[in-house]
């Protein structure tokens, strides 16, 4: 009986949490048109979330692509179809690994930075000070950071995939000796626009989810050192679970 009550209670708590984050999202969306007038603020945040994550995204993309080249070659060799490596690597990267790994790295690099920055602003009364100056912190602070993340994510995922394909080519063609012509021509012949679209849709949705979780956790962080730390951890954990869950849903929807 106790177990049922506890399960019921956690379900209610989860729904309340979901309701709160959806309400927060609606507030953010309502303030977005006015915040869009301040393009300088959004550009600054695209730089913070996007440009500053470039190195880790490019490096990870390269290594993931190289591993894919190696594993793909091993597997395809068994069926004597190494030339399909280009297609396999590209579809894997564009549809799956690009958006997902970028989102996970984004949560770890930019998401934590956003959450801890907002949490510290809360802890040092900067958000209250803005409220007292009749400036809505959601419009001035949260929305530019949210939009910056939403815009940066698909761009980062695209860069990840491109570098990854290059990494797969590096290992497959240069190291393992797959024919360069068939690597590229097979890829061009069999990767369609729908594959690219799936990747774009995924990274856009992951961008919204990861940025929203980061700004929500930071904005409502308990204003203590421990509270900010917990908000940062929760940002990464929640983002990772949500991204993988959404990934399944979107993949199923595209089938």
């Amino acid at each position: 009986m106790n177990l049922i009550r506890e399960l019921w209670q956690s379900l209610v708590e989860a729904l309340v949490g979901l309701g709160a984050i959806v309400r927060f999202l609606l507030r953010v969306i309502a303030q977005s048109p006015r915040a869009l007038l301040r393009l300088d603020l959004i550009a600054q945040q695209i730089y913070n979330s996007g440009a500053l994550s470039l190195v880790i995204i490019m490096l990870s993309g390269l290594f993931v692509g190289m591993v894919l080249g190696l594993q793909g070659f091993q597997l395809l060799q068994r069926f004597g179809s190494e030339e399909a490596l280009g297609t396999a690597a590209t579809i894997g990267l564009v549809k799956e690994l690009g958006p997902v790994v970028t989102a996970l790295l984004f949560a770890g690099r930019a998401g934590t930075a956003l959450a801890s920055e907002l949490g510290l602003m809360r802890a040092t009364d900067q958000l209250s000070a803005m409220e007292m100056m009749a400036v809505d912190p959601i419009r001035r602070v949260v929305v530019p950071r949210f939009l910056g993340g939403v815009i940066a994510m698909p761009l980062l995922a695209a860069i990840f995939s491109v570098i990854g394909i290059y990494g797969a080519q590096l290992v497959g063609v240069q190291l393992m000796g797959v024919d360069s012509g068939s690597f590229w021509s097979q890829m061009r012949a069999s990767v369609g626009l729908s594959d690219i679209n799936e990747g774009i849709v995924k990274s856009c949705i992951f961008g919204v989810a990861c940025s929203l979780i980061a700004v929500y956790e930071g904005y409502y962080a308990t204003p203590t050192a421990e509270g900010v730390g917990r908000a940062t951890t929760r940002t990464v954990v929640t983002s990772a679970v949500v991204v993988l869950f959404l990934d399944y849903l979107i993949t199923a929807a595209f089938l």
């Binding site: 040092t124 900067q126 209250s128 000070a129 409220e131 007292m132 100056m133 009749a134 400036v135 809505d136």
Partner: protein, 270 residues
């Protein structure tokens, strides 16, 4: 606009935090254009009172009317209109750490006005000159001492020429020179511009030199109010203890605890 003698009227205010009553039946009137000090022992809810007056939290009971606006019914938009007429100095300054000193002071102007850059520059430099930090305009908040941050925050609080200026512990950590400057500034803002000032402070001596009226809070109520001189000779034990800084009196120095020797001699720790 309401032009009565009081700019803030608080009637029968009650407020609880976590089931613990902070205020129970508090009454207070803040005179327009005067300097009002709010004093009281630590934990009496002075900062909470400021948060209630500025609408950062809502009261559980009673009424608060600020510049003719009933805080019980005000909505977000109305609250923001009201707050444009207020300035608040936070305990730690609360400067925006990603902006320079100049940009911090210019922040309200940039957010609320379309003034040309030249005029913004003049206004900001004038306010920074008033707090003696014109030379620090290009520094970042992390490069400032606690006292300097507070002075920049004061410049920011007055840049929109507010009607009501609220200071939360403005004298903590200031050296005697800065303290004198800030005290004179509070007086001058009140005398020259007719700004209503509300100062929350523990510093009995400092506040006595500038305040026009003092409210002494204890146990969730106003226990005494009057001019600083009246309070110094107030016929009440609690007022005498606070104004004189005495350890013995109705306000206990110690937080409630079990018997001292009994706890020291006990074998097990808590």
């Amino acid at each position: 606009m309401n032009q009565s003698a009081s700019i803030i009227e608080i009637r029968n205010l009650s407020y609880e935090i976590g089931g613990r009553p902070v205020f129970a039946g508090l009454d207070m009137e803040v005179a327009r254009g005067r300097i009002t000090a709010v004093m009281g022992p630590s934990g009496t809810g002075k900062t909470t009172l400021l948060r209630l007056i500025t609408g950062q939290v809502a009261a559980d009971g009673g009424s608060i009317v600020v510049a003719g606006q009933d805080m019980r019914v005000v909505r977000r938009a109305g609250l923001y209109v009201l707050r444009r007429r207020m300035g608040m100095l936070f305990q730690n300054g609360a400067l925006l750490t990603d902006l320079s000193v100049f940009e911090n002071v210019a922040f309200p102007l940039r957010e609320h006005t379309d003034l040309p850059e030249r005029l913004i520059r003049q206004l900001v430099l004038t306010k920074l000159q008033a707090v003696g930090l014109r030379g620090a305009a290009e520094l970042m908040p992390t490069e400032l001492s606690g006292g300097m941050s507070r002075r920049v925050a004061l410049a920011r609080a007055i840049v929109m020429d507010p009607e009501i200026l609220i200071y939360d512990e403005p004298f903590v950590g200031l050296d005697p020179i800065s303290l004198g400057v800030i005290l004179r500034l509070i007086r001058r803002l009140s005398d020259a511009l007719g700004i209503t000032s509300i100062v929350v402070s523990h510093d009995v001596q400092e506040i006595s030199t500038v305040a026009d009226q003092v409210f002494l809070l204890s146990g969730g109520k106003v226990v005494a109010h009057g001019t600083p001189q009246q309070l110094h000779s107030y016929p009440s034990e609690i007022v005498r203890q606070f104004m004189g800084g005495l350890a013995d009196g109705p306000v206990p120095f110690h937080f409630p605890a079990p018997d001292y020797f009994g706890e020291l001699l006990a074998r097990e720790g808590p």
